[in-house]
Symmetry: C2
Subunit: 582 residues, 2 copies
């Protein structure tokens, strides 16, 4: 803020000059006092709120009968999981009242390193959604896979100092923290020593002294809280708990039962992962608020979760409330039950109305992040397994599609020990192809329960290193899937009999589309339909999302990386053959 802006703000507040904009006659949700101030005007000067009371403006918008709440803040979201660019995610989130998100660019930084963050931060400038960033703390996510980059403590020091960077993103390597691993403590110290930075937690299923040890390192929030007991433990130890409601993870309805009058100021809302279809059909935090109120939470309290609490947790002092000197991020709602969003203001500007994002916008060029696919000397020979036994371990998909079970199965082999697909068995080959440095590394294994009956499907979205993952009934289609995917700069391809039958290119680091939210939703619908109709993939699984988690080797019980089959509980690679020797 410069002196001219400050002077204008004060004069507006005092009523000496007309406000730039006045929202008239609203019922204001006061998050400081937990009351509704009926029929008041909100005066705005530039980006800021000047005052609440009776005001005149150069421009006036009637808010009669509507509730004015502070703009909603999503405390933890991966933009990449929407498959959308920051600009596009902003376009579809803002009409739902979201004016700020705390983004963890974990996926793109695993692909592109800090230049991935650079792209995201530049793109963020093109949207009225205020995107704050946390620096990904685990790149690569584990030492058992090849990511596109390695980000050490010293690489974080400059990014941590940037404007709009709030701290360190979810510190997934909790065993590293609890075990005082050198590299992890270096990162924590780097953030701590800057002062005022927030270190996000990620500790699913961690309890007792493990949890205390983890928190003692300075962890201040967690979105991976799966039980009421875990919630109580975290809150008592000063950890803000997020009621996560994403496309896949639905924690809100359970965790909301743990909210009490005593702990409510430490409750936040987040999406974590939210796909365009979920946003375009259900909404964003407006939907979470609706659910909170349905679950019996007082509406003003619920709004505090999405506003003041979030601003306090992340040290955003000029956000989270409608008051003089705060940024004019304001949502007009029909009521505090359905939370139907009528108008959204961001930094003093009307940016959405009745579900429509209003500003025109340009998009950041994607050249710097679109050349991320390097498969080197890849050929279908890479899928040869030379098995010495037909008794092999398979990755069995469990309901939900993230957890897996390690099961021994018998497969048909040819004389060279290569897999022959058998329609009577729901077992297919799965492979992860390193795609960042062209190292030629390919890990192969088997997957059970996916339902694929012919062809192949391949993705370059494969958590967390985002190598290419491919499943198929035959090596020809699998190889064609990989080369087709590389040609289209990543994304999703479905192959049947040597032809691409459906696809979605994702040229932004191979993990995000450069198209609209509606287009991505339509493509994903078409891909799902084709996968069921042509490839007969099971109705129980999401063909894309389920596959994309099969390489996430921090989630039990068995996963596949570009280096091979990984047994999560024992934290080691295992041979594919049940009696094999590694």
């Amino acid at each position: 803020m410069n002196k001219e802006e400050l002077s204008k703000l004060i004069k507006t507040a005092h009523g000496d000059i007309k406000a730039d904009l006045v929202i008239k006659h609203v019922n204001l949700v006061n998050v400081f006092t937990a009351e509704i101030q009926e029929d008041v005007d909100i005066a705005i000067s530039g980006k800021w709120i000047a005052g609440v009371g009776s005001y005149e403006g150069e421009k006036e918008i009637d808010g009669k009968g509507m509730y004015a709440a502070p703009g909603f803040i999503d405390c933890h979201i991966h933009i990449e999981s929407s498959y959308l660019s920051p600009e596009e995610l902003g376009r579809i989130i803002v009409p739902h009242g979201g004016t700020t998100i705390v983004a963890d660019p974990h996926e793109i930084v695993n692909v592109c390193g800090i230049p991935g963050l650079d792209y995201m931060m530049k793109a963020a400038k093109n949207t009225k959604l205020d995107i704050k960033f946390q620096i990904p703390s685990c790149v690569p996510a584990t030492p058992f896979e090849d990511a596109g980059a390695i980000v050490k403590a010293e690489d974080m020091e400059e990014p941590l100092r940037r404007e709009n960077v709030l701290g360190l993103a979810e510190f997934m390597n909790y065993p590293g923290v609890i075990g005082c691993a050198d590299l992890d403590l270096d990162k924590i110290i780097a953030a701590k020593n800057l002062g005022g930075k927030v270190i996000d937690g990620h500790a699913p299923g961690v309890h007792g002294k493990d949890l205390t040890a983890y928190i003692s390192a300075g962890i201040r929030d967690d979105h991976e809280c799966e039980s009421l007991l875990g919630m109580e433990e975290r809150l008592r130890q000063g950890v803000y708990v997020m009621l996560r409601q994403g496309t896949v993870c639905h924690d809100l309805n359970n965790l909301v039962k743990g909210v009490s009058k005593g702990n409510s100021r430490r409750i936040l809302l987040c999406s974590d992962d939210r796909q365009p279809k979920t946003i375009l059909t259900l909404g964003h935090l407006d939907n979470s608020l609706r659910m909170c109120v349905e679950a019996g939470i007082d509406p003003i309290e619920a709004i505090r979760f999405a506003t003041l609490n979030a601003a306090e947790c992340f040290h955003m002092y000029d956000k989270g409330a409608i008051a003089p000197s705060y940024l004019a991020d304001i949502v007009l709602l029909d009521d505090l039950k359905d939370f139907k969003v009528r108008k959204v203001f961001a930094k003093g500007e009307l940016v959405a109305e009745d579900g429509k994002y209003l500003p025109s916008f340009s998009k950041e060029p994607i050249d710097s992040v679109s050349g991320s696919i390097h498969i080197g000397d890849f050929s279908k020979e890479k899928f040869k397994m030379h098995l010495k036994s037909d008794e092999v371990w398979a990755i069995e998909i469990l309901p939900g599609g993230v957890l897996t079970k390690k099961v021994p199965v018998k497969v048909k082999l040819d004389k060279d020990g290569e897999f022959i697909f058998d329609e009577k068995q729901d077992i297919v080959k799965v492979a992860v192809v390193e795609r960042h440095k062209g190292t030629g590394k390919v890990g192969c294994g088997f997957m059970k329960g996916y339902g694929l009956k012919r062809g192949a499907i391949a993705l370059s979205v494969a958590h967390d290193s985002h190598n290419m993952i491919v499943v198929g009934t035959n090596d020809d289609d699998m190889a064609f899937a990989i080369t087709s995917l590389a040609e289209q700069k990543g994304g999703i391809v479905l192959i049947e009999g040597g032809k691409v039958i459906e696809s979605m290119p994702m040229p932004i680091a191979g993990i995000m589309s450069d198209q609209s939210g509606e287009w991505v939703m339509e493509r994903l619908n078409a891909i799902t339909e084709a996968s069921r109709k042509h490839l007969e993939i099971s109705e129980d699984v999401n063909p894309v999302m389920t596959l994309s988690f099969m390489s996430l080797c921090v989630i039990p019980e068995i996963k596949l990386t570009d280096r091979g089959l990984f047994d999560v509980p024992s934290f080691q690679f295992i041979p594919v053959e049940v009696n094999g020797i590694h």
Copy 2:
């Protein structure tokens, strides 16, 4: 924190190694969840809390039956008003559970400029009381007096960046802010642009759009809230309200009525001004907590005022709670009703027990701030008034001793127009002698209602510029008072018949003693007694404190500075004679 400390902290939290210190079996006041955790241990590693649960320590202290609360935080206090050095104030506050104060060194900086702050910050290192500083925003306090220094926006930039400096202290010049005065906006911009700094308010009696305009500049707390209406107005606009309970100002019992479940997270406690006698007899925030609970506030809520709320308001992320990674500032209490403090821990160290401060300590040398008295070519001739009329304005003392009334009186004059004291009238001469630069400026006037019957009394504590103020029945004693006061490096002197009958030297900037709290209390008692017994000063007035406010020209209705008699409502100097021409 370095890596070794962090690693030790995590290992302690995990139970891998014994804690440095464990406080066993306490009933923990959990300010995050507003509950009591019964019979738990607090493990401490170095300065930090490692965990709460069941722990073993190299050293163990039994807390059975006691309540453990976070150390108390006084959100606004002038150390100088205790007349004690930072070390001594720490010694008497810490045993009452105060582990952190937010100090506004307004008085010493008005005398010494930034070197006064430097002394305070160095001295602060010698006490276990964690003293955070706000940079005084109004030096000089007004343009109508001569202070020892001028601190402009550019002079603040370096101090604002210092460790332990939280922001800008009470912005007293609210008319300047509301009127967008250039120099004031410069200061606010300087603080704002650093990010994360807190700007304290000071807006007694300011309401409506004046208040909104003031807050719009970025004011985030106020300790000058005198009514429930004012409290509601401030809270609604995002201003933390302090329930002030000082030696003079007693706002708590009134304001506590305005606390609600909805607004309670925005309530703080403070002393503002608290003299040794008050601390040594009544206590500090322990007393405020007692009063809150007596007034019906839930004890855990009251403790939040003094801990978590304060830490949040002032962005002290590692304070205000007993939880892993927080600083180990802990108070053990007998109960949550009388708040009798048993033990106090500061940064992991036991620092007070049963009212006694335990650590030995050295004191910062005071040389840099003890040469502040410069009266130049002062002589008793300076008190000559050459009055042209015996009808003069007098400063009438009102109950409370801070507000005054402008009254016309008739005095006896000699042939040269000089004042002759008349025992039948309760009117004495009062003068303010500039003492910072030896300019020789002396302002003279009359005071009514002080009761003085003989001799003179002089102080170098005279708000806010701390020139010398003297009252007397005759010029000889007054002049002797001034020279005696200069000789003893400031403080207080009582003169009768050309002799010093009582005194307290205050060599630290002429406004603080270098002696103990008990000694200062005893001296002040003796001075008060002598002033009544020998000089017959009225029982209704505090001879020292009342006099020290007679030069505070922001408080109505009529005051005296070194430049003359000041009419506060019209904001101008006036002649002493009722019909005089200036």
